[in-house]
């Protein structure tokens, strides 16, 4: 990486921020942060949730104003602060995580939307819009029907539309906020190719993410933030995921394989040739008491669909499910819960927890029958139950009555797990339990999982992150295109073995 060292010294940065401070209601969100981007480079901005990444982007794009003493220079000009209009017109573009697109409008209009902006009303020139859109897509080497409404395209294509839109804005630097969070591997690869194209054309790209495995090898430098302060700027050559995690959290994690021999436990779940057309095909496996079975697979591999069928929310076309030696056919997920299956949903924010409701209400929602007294809900029993689980799982809360949305991702996830444990399950299915949970808090979640397994609970751990299942499961099934295509024992294989199979 001699080139990088060279550029670091001699090339003038495209964007440079010094002395950035900002506070919100007495909390200092950024402390004396500096940040720079070189022309045409691919740069990673890493940090946990709440580390100040988004705040920094919002300062760069002019949404927030930094405190006095800050200096911002972009493309040879100095500014005390930015405004959204100036930032956009000078070529600073952001692709937000939610993409900020307009689904009902056509692809062309989304890409060339800036042509309908402006202080004074004008007539819309649709032909010009189409031309701009086709040009921008062309520069990315992508073919899309520009006259189709955006809503007819899946998320990966929408992201490309958002990138094309940035190009129409004559971007010199493009910030991408968590761009790979909802993409499958091949979509991610495609995105990375597009980033290479952009970089090759002299457009700098800044990835903002806390999942950096995919983007590490195409970027040249890495800036890490922690708690609103700058940790440092590093060349990415030789950087590893675990080193980044350490930098982001300031803690060292002792990752060790937890797998053990669990063949002595009785079989809790046995699945034989389970098939649901278009979703999964001839899936067979067993999970024993005290065993953690990892299921690794990329988005679209059929893992969540399989979990939903085990949980009684969809019916299999063929195959058998045996729970504790009894053949079962669930009519609903209520029946599955009663039989002792708990399912921690993949999408905690919208499906797993009821955000505006209190911690206590969220925790007891699946086990209301336990806190009844003479047919009415008993407040004292509820408090008792909640207090017990809060202590058991070490959830950090203020009051039981606080809204669940006031908790951090990690603590929310603990409440979600407690909610299911309160139903006395025999089998706990965890679907992507660390999505939206900070790296630092993940270890705590897996400590709980290990403790539960030791207490005899059978656990299915579904994930698309190989290290998660490698370190925490006793056995790992690899699922692809609806089928189990491989089985791994973490005690006798390496992380790379599984990664090679999954990302092949």
């Amino acid at each position: 990486m001699a080139l990088t060292d060279h550029t670091l010294d001699s090339v003038r940065p495209l964007l440079s921020l010094q002395n950035i401070n900002i506070s919100f209601g007495g909390v200092q969100a950024l402390k004396n942060v500096s940040f720079d981007v070189l022309p045409g480079e691919v740069h990673c901005l890493a940090g946990e949730n709440g580390s100040g990444k988004s705040t920094l982007i919002k300062i760069i794009t002019g949404v927030y104003q930094p405190a006095g003493g800050a200096s911002i220079s972009f493309d040879g000009q100095s500014y005390d602060h930015m405004s959204p209009v100036v930032a956009q017109s000078k070529g600073i573009q952001v692709i937000w995580q939610d993409l900020a697109l307009f689904p009902e409008m056509t692809v062309a209009e989304n890409i060339a939307f800036q042509t309908v902006l402006g202080r004074w009303p004008r007539l819309v020139n649709y032909r010009h819009m189409r031309e701009l859109a086709i040009q921008a897509l062309d520069r990315l080497g992508v073919l899309l029907d520009v006259d189709a409404p955006l809503k007819s395209f899946p998320i990966a294509q929408r992201q490309i539309v958002a990138i094309a839109r940035a190009l129409v804005g004559e971007a010199k630097v493009v910030f991408m906020d968590e761009p790979t969070a909802s993409l499958t591997q091949s979509e991610t690869d495609h995105l990375l190719n597009i980033v290479r194209t952009l970089s090759g054309r002299g457009v700098a790209v800044v990835f903002v993410s806390h999942r950096l495995a995919e983007v590490l090898d195409i970027s040249s430098r890495l800036t890490v933030l922690r708690d609103g302060g700058l940790v440092g700027v590093y060349p990415t050559a030789g950087m590893t995921q675990s080193r980044i995690t350490e930098l982001m959290t300031g803690k060292t994690f002792d990752n060790h394989v937890r797998a053990a021999d669990r063949t002595t436990g009785s079989k809790v779940l046995k699945v034989d040739g389970l098939t649901r057309r278009g979703e999964f095909d001839s899936v067979s496996f067993t999970v024993r008491e005290g065993e953690t079975l990892g299921i690794i697979g990329l988005l679209g591999a059929g893992r969540t669909e399989l979990a939903l069928t085990l949980f009684g929310m969809s019916k299999p076309d063929s195959g058998a499910i045996t729970l504790n030696g009894h053949s079962v056919q669930f009519q609903s997920n209520r029946a599955a819960i009663d039989a002792g299956i708990a399912y921690l949903s993949e999408d905690r924010l919208s499906l797993g927890l009821i955000q505006p409701q209190s911690i206590a209400d969220n925790l007891v929602i699946s086990s209301l029958h336990k806190i009844q007294k003479n047919g009415v809900l008993s407040d004292s029993r509820k408090q008792q139950l909640v207090a017990g689980w809060i202590a058991e799982l070490g959830v950090k809360i203020g009051q039981q009555g606080d809204a669940i949305s006031t908790l951090s991702g990690g603590n929310q996830q603990r409440v979600a797990i407690a909610k299911w444990l309160a139903t006395d399950p025999k089998l706990l299915i965890l679907d992507a339990p660390t999505v939206g949970v900070d790296v630092g808090a993940r270890a705590g979640i897996f400590d709980i999982v290990a403790k539960l397994a030791d207490a005899g609970l059978a656990i299915i751990l579904i994930s698309d992150e190989v290290p998660e299942v490698y370190f925490n499961a006793d056995r790992v099934l690899h699922m692809a295109q609806g089928q189990i295509v491989g089985t791994f024992d973490p005690r006798s294989c390496t992380l790379q073995d599984i990664e090679a199979a999954v990302y092949a």
Partner: protein, 330 residues
């Protein structure tokens, strides 16, 4: 054509339904399928179409308005009183006064929504009651029959007697309706502000990040509806030849139903002028047909309710699902 059906699913489905109902009615009644009846329908529907295209703009911008119909009653009443003190006036001054008053009432809604951050349905239910209460209080429910002569004289722009003795007539309300329809269509599809309204309704946060003046959007949308309801109010007075304070009470829900039937989405970002016009026409045609068939008017509301449910489930859901599946396949 195929592309049109794919991108304009609701409009195509509505057109199909209108065609089927028309064919059915032309066989089951004697005089449905006559030019005379067709132009009657256009004359009758004009006011509702004017209201509907106004409301469409508010729905596209992600709002809703319950107050525009009673607002139009207020405009009628005040305009006629104002014209009286001005010594009569004429169509030009009448339309200007009614339009300006309508805009003022619409702006008041937008101001309340923006200033106090209340959602539009709550604000407009409140102003609906306030407008109607004030109107009934000050008028004591008394109608005005003594209108300026120009306002009560039927203006027939084109007439022609057919061989069967019936008349084809295009009256002033139809012309005004056409102007409002074309103006609204041009405004929302061919001006930058119109596209900003769509974007704002579709994704308000996205629009804000683009630097669209989101505060102005509410004022523009409600101002446009106000203008349309003012004009529509005057046209209704002209058509009815009297100003009855509660004549338009309840009209808001009929118009809202028609606009939603036409494919506009409660929640914003979606809807077209064509769909909106077809929605009003479908309801008028059904009503007209039921009248001709001698069906009790009490059954009418029930049937309209059923049509709305059926049309929306049929037209919207399967087409969108098909398109989503197509998108996934790519």
């Amino acid at each position: 054509m195929r592309r049109f059906i794919r991108t304009h699913g609701t409009e195509s489905a509505l057109f199909g339904v209108i065609l089927i109902i028309s064919i059915f009615l032309s066989f089951s009644t004697d005089n449905f399928f006559s030019f005379g009846n067709g132009f009657d329908l256009l004359n009758i529907s004009s006011v509702n179409i004017i209201f509907a295209v106004g409301l469409l703009v508010v729905l596209i911008a992600g709002g809703i308005d319950i107050s525009f119909a009673v607002g139009a009653s207020v405009v009628q009443y005040v305009s006629v009183l104002a014209l009286g003190t001005l010594g009569g006036g004429g169509w030009v001054s009448g339309l200007m006064i009614a339009g300006a008053l309508g805009i003022a009432l619409g702006m008041l809604n937008a101001f309340l929504i923006e200033r106090f951050r209340i959602i539009s349905i709550v604000v407009t239910i409140a102003t609906f009651n306030i407008y109607f209460g004030l109107l009934m209080f000050f008028t004591k429910g008394v109608s005005i029959y003594d209108l300026p002569e120009w306002l009560t004289t039927r203006v027939v722009l084109f007439e022609h007697q057919l061989t069967d003795g019936s008349w084809i007539e295009i009256t002033l309300p139809v012309l005004v309706m056409l102007v409002c329809v074309v103006a609204t269509w041009a405004f929302i599809t061919h001006t930058t502000v119109g596209r900003q309204l769509y974007a704002f309704g579709d994704n308000p946060e996205g629009a804000r990040r683009f630097g669209i003046n989101v505060h102005a959007m509410q004022f523009i949308a409600f101002g446009w509806l106000g203008l349309m309801s003012g004009i529509g109010g005057l046209m209704q007075a002209h058509y009815a030849q009297e100003v009855v304070p509660n004549a338009l009470y309840g009209r808001e829900l009929d118009v809202l139903a028609a606009v939603v039937l036409g494919g506009a989405r409660l929640g914003g970002g979606k809807g077209s002028v064509l769909g909106c016009v077809l929605g009003v026409l479908l309801i008028s045609i059904t009503q007209n047909g039921l009248n001709l068939m001698g069906v009790s008017p009490f059954a009418f509301k029930m049937i309209i309710g059923a049509i709305i449910l059926i049309a929306i489930t049929l037209s919207n859901a399967p087409l969108e699902r098909m398109m989503r599946r197509e998108g996934r396949g790519k």
